[in-house]
Structures are given as structure tokens and as C-alpha cells.
């Protein structure tokens, strides 16, 4: 059977996420720490919803907390951050 990728940036499969849930992960952060899903370039923009659906099968939807939002909002070049400021 072909592997189904849930997180494309980090190449994490549905099976790996199911294993993380079986291992005790009950949050998006818990799945991230076990599998790297959501740690890649897009920071979970696609896989976050898919994983939330998978978590909803084992946990009350209302209890699924969103992951922590952290700057930067979009990937930004280090040179631009350092040079684009007033001294």
C-alpha cells in the first residue's frame, strides 16, 4: 500500500501519527514532538487540520487546543531582520 503523507514538509505518514496517538499523544504539540509533523517549513499550515481530525477520533474536539503561534508569521531572511532595524 502507498504511504499517505500527512505532513509533507517533514514527510510524516498517517501511520506514524496513528502510532504517536497510540503512544499517548493527545495534543498537536504532543504529535509534533513525537513525529516532527508541523516542524517544517510551512509550520503546520496544511497538516494541522488533518491531524486535528485524527485527534478528534480519540479526543473530545472541544478539548483540542491549537498549537502555540510563534513569530515569524512567514519565513523571513535573517539578514532582513538584522539590517532592517533602527539602531
Amino acid at each position: 500500500m502507498k504511504e499517505e503523507y500527512i505532513c509533507r514538509c517533514e514527510e510524516v505518514t498517517r501511520k506514524e501519527i496513528e502510532e504517536a496517538i497510540a503512544d499517548g499523544a493527545t495534543t498537536l504539540a504532543g504529535i509534533k514532538r513525537r513525529t516532527r509533523a508541523g516542524m517544517g517549513l510551512c509550520q503546520g499550515r496544511t497538516c494541522q487540520r488533518l491531524i486535528t481530525q485524527m485527534l478528534a477520533n480519540v479526543k473530545d474536539k472541544a478539548e483540542i487546543t491549537p498549537p502555540t503561534s510563534r513569530p515569524p508569521v512567514r519565513a523571513i531572511k535573517i539578514g532582513e531582520i538584522v539590517e532592517g532595524e533602527d539602531e
Partner: protein
């Protein structure tokens, strides 16, 4: 969850899971209680370095060196890929003043047996390309290494469970019952566990657990902010720190009230590249209570410091920032061992930024203490009672 246990461990980070493993290995079946998830605190919000060079020569460095020895066989022993790799490490030196301090630091570390040397800029640049031409040089030790702390927690926890430990996630400690100055039981949100021994491995949250038995612990959360880049081909060849990192770590008083935001935030370079190619750029050392936010001021200060030392970073993209709370203690050393006056209450917290490096050795020391009553190396200077006024005597009868 069982109703009783020989030992209850509070905290599912690199310290708690390590203790659970080493105890299980010696035939004790502990219950580990974690209020959230494995590595959900500082163990999942830190860098990947196992650095010997950043440790103060003395008991601190001795602990790290014992731990480093244990790391070399740990992945095989735990039967889990913890992404451990010896990569070497360097501390960048910017001026003559720093060089003088680092010369003395290196000399004292060598005396304890660490393989470390001073390099001039040319030699340093051969190991780590892309360094600023304004640097004086660096230190270098081939013994520094990397590990993935989140995988380390998973590995310890799985191995401990295979040996009979019970790991309870989403289980918080509500209270600890003490009678006649002895630990009696731990009350959790899922019921009570009778036990004679409780280990406080709650990291930055250890003071809250200590309070339950009337202790006033000198541990304070110290925020460390770290920046993550996109994955790039191998660029950071070793664990790279700067001399300011050492100053910020051991001299918090020098940082207060500085006009320079970098200094005030305790910025010291900590640069490493993960197994997956992302670069971690750190870090700050700030006293802001239990606030885990990241700030724009710190993002800029960290990157300004990093690019001044390693200009080659400028063309790389930042994708995320995060923050963890390091359990700071006034003397920079963890509290390890039994607490006087409360029989059965053990401290294993306060490692600040050294928890990852010291995780295996801490697990072994605490399990030795419980099983044999003595430890393989003398850690009496780390006993919690070195801090006076530990006891509040509010609850102890």
C-alpha cells in the same frame, strides 16, 4: 494507575524519565507522573547540545563528563534512535579580555581531564567556516555532542515501561501527604498513590511541588528564547557558543540594568544544526516568571549577536521561535538528594540549561541513592540543604 508504588517521580522531562529508567533497570517499579506530556516543558523547548565546555570546572564538569561517557552507549542500551552524535564544540572569543577569561577557564577544565584547547582565528575557521574576521579565536573540544532531547525522553520512558515502570501522562500532582515527617502518599487528579519515596523532578515547576511538603526551594524559571531556521545543507560544523554565553550563564547580576538589550536579555550565542538540517540559534536568559512567550526584542537581539559572530547566517530564513523555562538556582548547580527533615522526599531539579547534558548521570545518581543508599560519585555538595531557609515548616508535623 496503581494505588501504590515504591517510588513516585514527578515530572516527565529528561530528568524524570531518566530516573524512571535507571530505577527500573535496578528492579524498582516507579510510577512517573507528568501533568501534561513527555518533554512538554523545558526538555521540549531547548537546544540539542551536550556541551562539556560550558560547565564550570569542578563538580559541574565532573558530572557532565560522567554523563558524556554514559551517552556514548545510551542509544543502543535504550534501543531507540536519540540522534546522538559527537560533533565537537567551540566557544568563540571576540576580544583580548574574553581571551584572558577563557584561557583560565580552559586551563582549569584541562586539569579535570577535559580535552579542550585554544585555537586562533585561522584554526577556528578551518573547523567552522563563515566566522567573522573580527574574532580573536575560539576554544575547541572534540568531546561535545548532540542529542534530540524529545527523542531522549521518549527513549527513557519506553525503556522504563518495558522494565515495569508506569508512566502516567496528563496526570498532575494535587498534594503530597506527609505524616510524622515522612512521605505517605501523592494525591493526583486521578487518585491517590501510597508511597514512601517521592522524587521532585519537575524542573522549573519544582518549587510548586516543594511547597506541597512545606519547602521553599531556591529554583526560579529563567526564560531561554531560541530561533529555528529552515533546513539547510550542513553549515554549522560543531556546537558553537560565544564567551558571552559563559558570562551570562554564571553572572546574572552583571546583566541587570544594562542599556544594551543584548546584555540585559542575557544573550549568549548557542548555535547548532539538527539531524534534519534546521539551525537552532539561541539564546536569552531572562527572569520573567513563568512567561513562555517569545518577543521581537529577543528575536532581534539573538540574531544580531549571531550574525556579528557568524555572518554566514544572514542568507538563511527563520521559520520559528520558541521559549523554554530553565530551572535556575543561585549557584548554577542542581539540587540532588534527600531533603533533610522530610523522610522520603528527594530533589532532582535545578539543572538550568544543563538538564540535557546531565540527564543520564542524574538518573544514575538518584537510582543509586534509592537502591544502594550511596552514589557512585560524591555529590554531597549538591544536597538540597546547602541552601539555608529551605524549610518553611508550614506543613511538616
Amino acid at each position: 494507575m496503581k494505588k501504590s508504588a515504591d517510588v513516585v517521580i514527578v515530572g516527565g522531562g529528561v530528568i524524570g524519565t531518566s530516573i524512571a529508567y535507571y530505577l527500573s533497570k535496578q528492579g524498582i517499579k516507579p510510577i512517573l507522573l507528568e501533568k501534561d506530556d513527555l518533554a512538554s516543558g523545558s526538555s521540549g523547548a531547548c537546544d540539542i547540545d551536550i556541551i562539556l565546555q560550558s560547565k564550570n570546572p569542578g563538580i559541574h564538569l565532573q558530572l557532565a563528563m560522567e554523563s558524556a561517557k554514559m551517552y556514548t552507549t545510551l542509544a543502543d542500551e535504550l534501543d531507540f534512535d536519540i540522534e546522538y552524535k559527537t560533533c565537537g564544540g567551540m566557544i568563540l572569543i571576540e576580544n583580548e579580555e574574553q581571551l584572558k577569561i577563557m584561557k583560565d577557564f580552559v586551563k582549569r577544565q584541562k586539569a579535570i581531564g577535559l580535552n579542550v584547547q585554544l585555537l586562533d582565528l585561522k584554526e577556528a575557521s578551518e573547523i567552522q567556516p563563515g566566522l567573522s574576521p573580527l574574532l580573536v579565536g575560539s576554544t575547541y573540544s572534540p568531546q561535545d555532542a548532540h542529542v534530540n532531547p524529545m527523542r531522549l525522553c521518549q527513549a527513557f520512558s519506553r525503556a522504563a515501561r518495558r522494565l515495569g515502570a508506569e508512566v502516567c501522562l496528563n496526570t498532575s500532582v494535587v498534594d503530597i501527604k506527609v505524616g510524622k515527617n515522612k512521605v505517605k502518599s501523592v494525591i493526583t487528579n486521578r487518585g491517590e498513590i501510597a508511597t514512601k519515596i517521592v522524587i521532585n523532578a519537575a524542573g522549573a515547576y519544582a518549587p510548586m511541588i516543594g511547597k506541597m511538603v512545606g519547602l521553599s526551594l531556591p529554583i526560579k524559571p529563567r526564560r531561554g528564547q531560541i530561533i529555528v531556521t529552515e533546513p539547510v545543507p550542513k553549515l554549522v560544523m560543531a556546537d558553537v557558543l560565544c564567551a558571552k554565553y559563559i558570562v551570562a550563564k554564571y553572572n546574572p547580576k552583571l546583566l541587570e540594568g544594562s542599556d544594551n538589550p543584548e546584555t540585559r536579555l542575557g544573550v549568549g550565542l548557542s548555535l547548532s544544526q539538527t539531524h534534519d538540517g534546521q539551525i537552532l540559534i539561541g539564546a536569552t536568559r531572562e527572569f520573567v516568571g513563568y512567561n513562555k512567550n517569545t518577543t521581537h526584542e529577543a528575536l532581534r537581539a539573538i540574531l544580531r549577536n549571531a550574525t556579528r559572530l557568524v555572518p554566514a547566517l544572514k542568507s538563511i530564513h527563520v521559520i520559528r521561535s520558541f521559549a523554554g523555562l530553565r530551572p535556575y538556582t543561585p549557584d548554577g548547580l542542581p539540587l540532588l538528594g534527600y531533603v533533610e527533615g522530610i523522610q522520603g522526599f528527594i530533589m532532582a531539579a535545578g539543572h538550568e540549561g544543563d538538564g540535557i547534558a546531565l540527564s543520564p548521570v542524574t538518573g544514575r545518581i538518584i537510582s543509586d541513592l534509592i537502591v544502594d543508599g550511596k552514589t557512585f560519585m560524591d555529590v554531597s555538595c549538591l544536597c538540597p540543604s546547602r541552601f539555608r531557609s529551605l524549610m518553611k515548616n508550614e506543613k511538616v508535623i
